[in-house]
């Protein structure tokens, strides 16, 4: 019981109410104590307003008092509160939510003195006020209040209430100078009330949002325009100018009044809950209503009982063998009640009998979700899972089958069939794994044999190359650091697992399958990138994976070339040219960001541009370590070591040849655009040869060879530099002419080998250098 309320009411109505209360609410325990204590204030109630209407009031009052006394337990109950938010809201409601009206007191025409008095009684700290600056002093500025921006909305413009905003509460708008200089007399200001002296009718405001309560702190304080004045104030001004308008007419003409959602909106604002509507009728107290009597609950119950009927009919059909009819009944039942457990189980059983095991499983699972304790559902589900697992086993999808058996076991641990099937499957899988491993070993052995034959030849050639290279190479310290970095990288990556094998195999498959000529253009452009990158290649920091990048590019190119299978080379040439010209434009942009990421991105971008299918495979640049790992995993072969040497050598060479490249750059650009295609095609021819040469489709080996040839190519360029352009050009033209011939593959074979030998020579040199250190 809310005592204060009761007291208030008693004060208003007088002792008669008290006596009535006593008589009516005798039995109510809440009231006894209250009535006891409330007796005192009731003795000296303020006299009722004297006036001619007193008699009427008394009569009315008697009725009302009786009413109050009868309903007192409801009216004064503590739970009879509204849920309106206690904190003041900014009444910045747009015109459309509801009809915003001018202040009531304006209509009532209450004298200013009373308005003023009431204003100072009701204003609170944290309210937003809006006023106009009347004067600016050195200690702050004074403003005359026009209206309120939050809390209570009063009509105060004519009351001439002034408020002071002290200097310390004015935020400065510039780093130096007087913050007050920002303001001028006549500015409209929105501020928050900071201090109130009710007795002296003085107000202090602040322009800092800290003076506002937390839910209003987003409101901008300071100078505002006249458009931002609250709606109620504008309406109030209108009313002043045209005082003939009545409250009703203003309300009816307001757009917000016609808003279909106005009732809902205002109920929310006032905190009245319409779903549990209040009532003073005893029989309509909504808390007395049972949940079961509500429409939605009844509907559910009814649906499930109707559905059950259908299911029963369906089961009868099923027993007789009329499957179609049974299915119809089940579907009907499920239409009536979507989540009906019995219907789902029955339908699942029907599916299982017919053989659509997946659908059956779905149904059973859904049924179990809704009712986890349904015994039949569980049993049938287990059976069906095992059956499905058996099907999958026959189809050789062992992992799937395994998961099904496991699921069945999870559901029902005692299900013997599932256990048996699972064990059988495990055995079978183990066997097949062993078989596979054996096969893989065999394959490896075969591969190594092939490598050895060419390795010997390569070694010879490498020795020759060593001699040549010694003259030209300028070994720098950075190259050694790079090489050491390389070594560390390769050593770390050598601990890779054979899991990468699969990775590569997948890529291989994919790369083999794709055959777009766009790839070539991408390759060409990436070649270009490589060249140009080297040109502007700043010293590679030691022990960074920047060294990776070049290698990655190489590998990428290798991949691309790898994938290429017989295609029309003529077409390639043209496309190469086009792509290269476009790529050469892009290159400078990339060089701006000398980060690994940008390079990565660029590479991947290029590959994207180049190929569609092989996109993923080329993004393995990021997984480059993987690839290197995988390649290193094969480094049981000597060839791999050669490859690694090739990398290091490559790095050294690039560092050493930086200046060379710089000189070469303008030429290279031109070179890149024109004979790029031929250059590219020559390389591609080489690679293609390699592809043919190797015969086996082992990815890794191609990678190696590619790298060999690449470093060889770079090496060639280094050696020949300016000179090499011309000799190479005719060389490549020759090659390109060969290209045109479709039988070019066979003729170019010796060229291919030569390159390989050169590469090996380079590697051997590397080896030698390393040993020296």
């Amino acid at each position: 019981m809310d005592r204060d309320l009761l007291r208030q009411s008693l004060n208003y109505h007088g002792p008669s109410l008290l006596s009535l209360l006593r008589s009516e609410q005798l039995d109510n325990p809440h009231f006894r104590s209250l009535l006891g204590s409330a007796a005192e204030p009731a003795r000296g109630p303020p006299p009722q307003q004297p006036g001619p209407g007193r008699k009427e009031k008394r009569v009315d009052n008697a009725e009302i008092q009786k009413f109050i006394s009868k309903k007192a337990d409801l009216l004064f109950a503590l739970s009879w509160k509204s849920d309106a938010p206690a904190t003041p809201e900014v009444n910045e409601d747009g015109e459309d939510s509801y009809a915003v009206m001018p202040p009531l007191e304006q209509f009532m025409e209450i004298p200013s003195m009373d308005q003023r008095e009431l204003f100072f009684r009701d204003i609170e700290r944290g309210d937003i006020v809006i006023g106009r600056i009347s004067s600016i002093r050195e200690f702050g500025f004074f403003m005359v209040l026009i209206c309120l921006g939050s809390g209570i909305m009063r009509d105060i413009s004519h009351l001439e209430i002034t408020a002071l905003c002290p200097l310390r509460d004015v935020p400065s708008h510039s780093n130096h100078g007087d913050p007050l200089s920002y303001y001028q007399t006549g500015d409209i200001i929105r501020a928050g009330i900071k201090d109130i002296d009710r007795y002296h009718e003085k107000l202090a405001v602040s322009l800092y949002s800290s003076s506002l309560p937390s839910n209003l702190s987003g409101i901008k304080l300071g100078v505002i325009s006249s458009e931002e004045l609250p709606l109620y104030y504008r309406r109030s001004v209108e009313l002043n100018s045209n005082s003939l308008e009545s409250y009703d007419s203003i309300m009816q003409s307001s757009l917000g009044f016609a808003n279909p959602g106005v009732v809902e909106f205002l109920l929310g604002k006032l905190g009245i809950d319409d779903s549990n509507p209040p009532s003073l009728m005893r029989g309509l107290q909504s808390k007395n209503f049972s949940e079961d009597d509500f429409a939605s609950a009844l509907r559910k119950k009814q649906s499930s009982s109707w559905a059950l009927k259908c299911v029963k009919i369906g089961v009868d059909y099923f027993k007789v063998g009329r499957h179609v009819d049974a299915m119809n009944e089940y579907n009907k039942a499920l239409e009536i009640d979507k989540q009906n457990v019995e219907a789902l189980v029955a339908r699942g059983a029907l599916y299982a009998t017919k053989g659509s095991l997946n659908k059956a499983i779905e149904d059973f699972e859904l049924a179990l979700e809704n009712c986890p304790t349904h015994r039949n559902a569980r049993k049938y589900l287990c059976q069906t899972l095992v059956e499905r697992g058996g099907q999958l086993e026959e189809e050789e999808k062992f992992l799937n089958a395994e998961s099904y058996y496991k699921k069945a076991l999870d559901l029902d641990e005692t299900f013997k069939d599932a256990e048996d099937a699972l064990q059988k499957l495990h055995k079978y899988m183990q066997k097949s794994l062993e078989l596979r491993e054996k096969q893989a070993e065999k394959e490896e052995k075969q591969k190594t044999k092939k490598i050895e034959t060419s390795a010997e030849k390569l070694r010879k050639l490498l020795k020759e190359e060593k001699r040549l290279k010694k003259k030209r190479r300028k070994s720098t310290s950075s190259s050694s650091s790079v090489s050491s970095g390389d070594e560390s990288v390769s050593s770390s990556s050598s601990s890779s697992s054979s899991g990468h094998k699969k990775h590569k195999k997948h890529r291989r498959h994919r790369s083999e399958s794709s055959r777009s000529s766009k790839r070539h253009s991408a390759k060409a452009s990436s070649d270009q990138i490589d060249q140009n990158r080297k040109d502007e290649y700043f010293p590679v920091p030691a022990n960074t994976s920047a060294s990776f990048l070049n290698q990655r590019q190489e590998v990428e190119k290798l991949l691309e070339k790898q994938d290429r299978v017989p295609y029309q080379k003529k077409q390639v040439k043209e496309k190469d040219r086009c792509s290269v010209s476009s790529s050469s434009v892009e290159i400078p942009d990339d060089f701006g960001g000398r980060s690994e990421d940008s390079r990565d991105f660029y590479n991947s971008y290029k590959t994207q541009a180049g190929s569609s299918k092989t996109e993923k495979s080329y993004r393995y640049e990021r997984h480059f370590s993987n690839r290197r790992d995988s390649s290193d995993s094969f480094s049981r072969n000597p060839e791999d070591k050669l490859k690694n040497y090739g990398y290091r050598k490559f790095e050294k060479d690039t560092d050493g040849r930086r200046e060379h490249y710089r000189k070469w750059e303008p030429g290279s650009m031109r070179y890149s655009t024109s004979p790029a295609s031929s250059d590219y095609s020559s390389k591609s021819v080489e690679k293609y040869k390699k592809c043919n040469y190797s015969g086996s489709r082992d990815f890794n080996r191609h990678e190696q060879r590619y790298q060999l040839s690449k470093s060889h190519r770079e090496y060639e360029r280094e050696d020949n530099c300016e000179e090499s352009i011309k000799p190479e050009a005719p060389e490549e033209e020759e090659l390109s002419s060969k290209e045109h011939s479709e039988s070019g593959a066979k003729k170019n074979l010796p060229q291919n080998l030569l390159n390989i030998f050169n590469q090996i020579a380079a590697f051997e040199k590397e080896k030698g250098n390393k040993q020296k250190k």
């Binding site: 309320l5 003041p88 009531l104 509507p277 509500f294 009814q302």
Partner: protein
């Protein structure tokens, strides 16, 4: 857009002479409207559609004799119709379920048999009858919108603490809803009813509108120009009368 200012229903509300002895008709109507309100809550209807349903019901029995038609069937049809009018449509199945449960507490939901379809058909038929009797004028002005706006205006004028402390809005809303047990809606203007309800709510808690005495115009006059104190008193006393029936009728 009905706006009946004068009562055209004969013998609708009890003659206030005998204290607490409403005419039998009024008792029936009271019971049935009680049913409408309760069903409305259980069906999840909001205040205004429920009010529309009650108004439809009262209007119907102004035009016809209460013995001619089953009042409960008319009530169910008016619920159905009100849902359509106020854009909160109800399914007949739900209405039947709730009503069945109301009359036979604790019973199982009805089976989908011929009896169910018969009930459903009769609701639909009755709805058509109600529409014809009301001449298809089933859109009403309700006091609810007005009341809410008045509450907002009053809220700004009262001291915020006394507003928070006193559940004026809730009481006013409850009074307004309960007023539909009787035929107030047909006899008074919507604005008047709203003001009267607000007035009563303020009186119950002893809240005084600030500076009322000094004002040129009383606040209730502001809200509705043509309102007079006697009208307010009339409405209030009628409303209280309705409440007396609550205790006498089970």
């Amino acid at each position: 857009m009905e706006d009946l200012s004068q009562d055209s229903c004969g013998g609708e509300d009890a003659a206030p002479g005998a204290k607490g002895w409403p005419a039998p008709q009024a008792r029936v109507h009271f019971r049935v409207t009680r049913f409408i309100m309760e069903a409305g809550v259980k069906l999840g209807m909001q205040s205004i559609p429920v009010a529309t349903a009650c108004t439809i019901y009262h209007k119907f029995f102004c035009e016809t004799n209460v013995d001619a038609y089953d009042p409960y069937l008319v009530a169910m049809s008016s619920l159905y119709l009100a849902g359509k009018v106020e854009e909160q449509p109800l399914r007949t199945r739900d209405i039947i379920n709730v009503s069945n449960r109301y009359f036979h507490p604790g019973s199982e939901p009805l089976e989908l048999d011929s009896r169910f379809w018969v009930i459903r058909d009769s609701i639909v038929q009755c709805e058509l009858l109600v529409l014809r009797v009301l001449r298809f004028q089933v859109s009403f002005h309700h006091p609810h919108k007005y009341l809410l706006h008045y509450l907002i205006s009053l809220k700004n004028w009262l001291n915020r603490y006394s507003w928070q402390r006193t559940p004026i809005s809730v009481t006013a809303w409850a009074l307004l809803r309960d007023s539909y047990h009787g035929g107030l809606c047909l006899r008074f203007q919507a604005q008047h009813i709203a003001v009267a309800v607000l007035h009563l709510a303020l009186q119950v808690y002893g809240v005084e509108v600030p500076a009322e005495a000094e004002a040129e115009k009383p606040w209730w006059q502001v809200f509705s120009e043509d309102l007079t104190k006697p009208i307010i008193d009339n409405i209030v006393s009628d409303l209280i009368q309705i409440y007396t029936m609550d205790t006498e009728i089970p």
